[in-house]
């Protein structure tokens, strides 16, 4: 008889289940538009949504702009591997949008359960929207929040539910199709996303969350998020996204437009964990009025290539912006992330703090712009950017631009690039901690200023993602 074996001691890294994000569901029975982009496809998407004529016109104008607009040749990661001729712009399970998880088809429900969305909704959210491929499959909001006059729905539903004038006034006004090539693509084929309206003076007790899951191989997701926070209101909105990994390119070209009214506050948090075959060409922009505040919390972990620079237009006096971001680029990833801030009114304030980590041949680029116009009298800006290199196969670049045209403004900028010191690792190892774990601890500590800005569940998810990325960091 052999001696009983002691239970295997599990390491921190082994505790993380990679299958949490990387699982595939069958597309059998799904409706999938032909790959590529054409006027016929654009018209078909519009027809499916029974849209007003102005929206179809906007789509067609966007398509024209997309076809005429080149990608910039002098900056940014290569997107040579992205061939629109092999991307389907619309895929749907055909399931009706549900307000109860019981009514969501089993395999889709199982997907979101594995991602922890229903549980999060029960414990800590005021409302949830769940998009699967091109369409929303679930949308619900707590009754007491609805009673405050808060609207949280899909854009398509809002268009047909008395909000058409508001949407027409705001839709693609902050991010016009002329902004860049993939903003134009988004304008042509957008589908799904969220519309949020928070009436004046209303504070939501819990965050709202939209989760975007792209299941189909070789497909694109083009959701549009439009949030209007009226004067004096307060909202925390969380966006999550993931996809299984395929051997073909997937595309995400979403668009987020945020309108923050006088004295209002909006916190927009994102944990992005796209699979590493994803081209993430997303555009996010906020316009902030007098005394309003926009807070961005942004974690970029996934995707093969990312272009992501949430931008803040501080148009009202004393409006402010805080941007807190972290980017983790591993092998096969080229993540070009950062932010843009445009200060265009007196006494505006902006604070930017970012961290980036590169390992295993990953490329992380921090890119930012701070523009202080002559109208931004007494504006104050602080930018801090720290990068951590975990090996000598990787790359980390910082490319911050500042354009200051106000004589009374004050702009401060600092950036550092370095590595984990051998002394730190040696010290932790002398306390009995393995090298792998010691490095993970240091990286978690490096990311701590970001994770503390997230709700607990999301901070845990971010730490798990760091552990996943750190797997095999040694040797």
């Amino acid at each position: 008889m052999s001696a009983p074996t002691a239970p295997k001691k599990r390491s921190e890294v082994a505790d993380v289940d990679r299958s949490l994000y990387d699982f595939v569901k069958s597309e059998e029975g799904y409706e999938r538009f032909d790959d590529g982009l054409s006027e016929e496809i654009v018209r078909e998407i519009s027809a499916k949504k029974d849209e007003p004529q102005w929206m179809l016109d906007l789509r067609l104008r966007s398509l024209e702009i997309y076809e005429k607009t080149p990608m910039p040749a002098n900056w940014g990661p290569s997107i040579e591997g992205l061939d629109m001729a092999h991307i389907s712009t619309y895929v749907t399970s055909g399931a009706d949008q549900a307000t109860s998880w019981e009514d969501v088809p089993d395999d889709i429900k199982d997907t979101f359960e594995r991602l922890g969305i229903p549980e999060a909704e029960r414990t800590s959210l005021a409302g949830v929207g769940a998009q699967y491929d091109s369409e929303l499959v679930y949308h619900n909001m707590r009754e007491e929040v609805a009673e405050l006059g808060v609207v949280y729905s899909g854009i398509e539903e809002a268009l047909h539910d008395g909000w058409e004038d508001v949407i027409r006034e705001h839709f693609m006004k902050l991010v016009p199709p002329t902004d860049h090539k993939f903003a134009a693509l988004h304008g042509a084929v957008w589908s799904g996303g969220s519309f949020v309206y928070v009436p004046a003076g209303v504070t939501l007790p819990y965050p709202l969350q939209s989760y975007f899951r792209l299941n189909a191989a070789g497909a694109g997701q083009f959701e549009h998020t439009l949030i209007i926070v009226e004067p004096g209101a307060d909202l925390h909105f969380i966006e999550g996204c993931s996809a299984p990994k395929y051997n073909v390119a997937n595309l995400h070209a979403g668009c987020v437009e945020l309108f923050v009214g006088k004295g209002a506050r909006l916190r927009y948090s994102t944990i992005e964990n796209w699979s590493k075959n994803m081209y993430n060409l997303n555009t996010k922009r906020a316009r902030v009025e007098e005394d309003g505040t926009i807070e961005w919390v942004s974690g970029s972990f996934g995707s093969h290539v990312s272009y992501l620079y949430p931008s803040s237009l501080l148009m009202g006096a004393r409006s402010s912006c805080e941007f807190t971001g972290i980017t983790f680029a591993g092998g096969g990833q080229d993540l070009d992330t950062g932010c843009k801030v445009h200060l265009a009114a007196p006494d505006t304030r902006a604070s930017v703090a970012t961290k980036s980590i590169s390992k295993g041949g990953g490329v992380s680029t921090f890119r930012s712009s701070v523009v202080v116009t002559p109208a931004a009298e007494r504006a104050k800006v602080s930018v801090s950017c720290q990068s951590l290199m975990l090996d000598d196969e990787s790359r980390s670049d910082t490319i911050p631009a500042m354009d200051v045209r106000s004589a009374s403004a004050q702009v401060g900028h600092e950036a550092t690039i370095g590595r984990i010191s051998d002394d730190t690792i040696a010290y932790l190892m002398s306390r009995g901690i393995g090298e792998d774990e010691a490095r993970t601890m240091v990286v978690n500590g490096f990311a701590e200023p970001i994770s503390k800005e997230l709700p607990l569940e999301y901070a845990v998810e971010m730490n798990n993602l760091i552990k996943l990325e750190m797997e095999g960091a040694i040797g």
Binding site: N74, S394, R405, A407, I417
Partner: protein
């Protein structure tokens, strides 16, 4: 010599570029063209020095350069180059090319003074420092209103070589400056101090591109300046910590006092890094004096205008005390014309304090 004007594009381009709508990646420049371009005759060792003014700008610089100056410093005999630009009466265009080789263990120095009345002055300086060599390069731009200065500079450093580059830009309607430095050898070092002063409609456009290739190299770029009136300044400073440069350190800082309602200040401080065992940092402080600083200085009886004038004078005095006698006369002359006799006297005093040289502030330099 000069004829029609020509427009050069892609001048002073940043190696790592960003959004084109910011109009910060590069500049354009209008220069006189020449009827009979010359073929620049360079020594073999100078041909491979990397220059970053842009292909069109460098081609123009090379074809209009007259009387190239070439020097070689040896361990036994240090070579000094002193070049004046713009001081030939009647010339609208004065362009020179300076090449200096410092052989193993040798020292050398170059002083370029662009101060005369010619409409356009320009210079290309190529520097090669062999193992253990060291060099100091000083560049002064003190040009009158409506004048243009174009500067291209490139240096290559071998093991244990060191280069100190000091630049003062006091005046010119347009100044462009493109500085490339390759720290190829282990433990080679580059340090640069840049001081600038611009007012009215003056424009300064500067690009640094430092590549750290050898192990344990060090690069430091410090820039500071005062912008008044409707002056425009762009500084692109790139430090590239190339894979293999283990143990290297790169640092950039900039301090800008914005003191005019029409000022436009652009800064693009870039660090590129493909090596883990390095330290890179950059910092910038741009804008007005803080309320604390203003409060302190006001309590000493200084107005905001006094403080700005003091900051500008400090840059002039720094040049006056750091540069030699030949430059001092030019600085005093420029200061008298641009800022008055009192400021010129102060610059002369600053120079005299260091050099013991008396300079008549009432005479044309």
């Amino acid at each position: 010599m000069s004829a029609l004007a020509k427009t050069l594009t892609g001048v002073d381009a940043a190696r790592a570029q960003t959004w084109n709508w910011l109009a910060i990646n590069e500049t354009t420049l209008e220069v006189p063209s020449v009827e009979a371009p010359v073929a620049l005759d360079l020594p073999r060792w100078a041909e491979d020095v990397r220059l970053i003014a842009g292909s069109a700008a460098q081609a123009w610089l090379d074809e209009v350069s007259s009387e190239p100056v070439t020097g070689v410093s040896t361990e036994d005999e240090a070579h000094s180059v002193l070049a004046f630009l713009g001081d030939v009466e009647g010339e609208e265009l004065d362009v020179s090319a300076v090449s200096l080789l410092c052989e193993e263990g040798a020292n050398g120095d170059v002083t370029l003074i662009a101060a005369g009345d010619a409409q356009t002055t320009a210079n290309t300086c190529r520097l090669v420092l062999a193992e253990g060599a060291s060099a100091t390069v000083d560049i002064l731009v003190a040009r009158p209103e409506d004048a243009v200065h174009v500067q291209s500079f490139g240096a290559t450093l071998a093991e244990d070589a060191s280069l100190a580059l000091r630049v003062w830009i006091l005046g010119a309607t347009t100044t462009t400056l493109a500085i490339a430095c390759d720290l190829e050898g282990a433990r080679s070092r580059f340090s640069s101090e840049l001081r600038y002063l611009a007012g009215a409609e003056e424009s300064i456009d500067i690009t640094y591109d430092v590549r750290q290739l050898g192990r344990s190299t060090e690069a430091t770029i410090n820039a500071s300046g005062v912008l008044e009136g409707s002056a425009a300044k762009t500084l692109r400073a790139s430090i590239d910590l190339v894979r293999g440069c283990k143990g290297s350190k790169g640092s950039e800082t900039e301090t800008v006092l914005v003191a005019g309602e029409g000022v436009r200040n652009k800064t693009l401080p870039v660090i590129l890094c493909s090596e883990d065992d390095v330290q890179g940092d950059h910092g910038a402080t741009i804008g007005s004096l803080s309320s604390d600083q203003m409060g302190f200085l006001s309590s000493r009886g200084l107005s905001e205008a006094d403080i700005v004038a003091l900051a500008g004078q400090a840059i002039i005095d720094d040049a006056a005390s750091a540069l030699g006698d030949d430059a001092l006369a030019e600085i005093v002359g420029w200061t008298r014309r641009a800022r008055g006799a009192e400021a010129a006297a102060q610059a002369a005093d600053a120079g005299a304090l260091i050099h013991g040289t008396l300079c008549d502030v009432n005479e044309e330099a």
